[in-house]
Symmetry: C2
Subunit: 84 residues, 2 copies
Amino acid sequence: MNMITILGLSAAFCTTVSFLPQAIKTIQTKDTSGISLSMYSIFALGTLLWLLYGILSDNFPVMIANGITFLFAVVILAYKIRFK
Amino acid sequence: MNMITILGLSAAFCTTVSFLPQAIKTIQTKDTSGISLSMYSIFALGTLLWLLYGILSDNFPVMIANGITFLFAVVILAYKIRFK
């Protein structure tokens, strides 16, 4: 595994894992007043497109990162819609 | 420009643009109670690493998307720290 792949996996780890504390906070507090519905709607779509891009371009870090991030984004979006 | 590049640019557009309504909402309302400090700390670092990955792997969609997203994330993070 070369340096660029390690960098990509580190990046993927951070941007993916970052949504976990937000999802936990949102699930626990149901405080979604400061969260933007537009952001999570467009972001969920975007991560889905990144996932397809990763699959089609055979780019492992893009693929795995966005597949997981998409799931976190959908959870946060669902709470925003339910508890806005 | 082939189909995969167009898909990557569409993904980049969505995940980048999505943070704009969140940044505007946060700036206007200063309501950061539901926003996770951990998320934006780790996410800002992650987008910075993605930017480096995009530059080193000569991947234009990854590069441009994460450069802009990093800036939005830093603005939201700054408001979270200032108005928590």
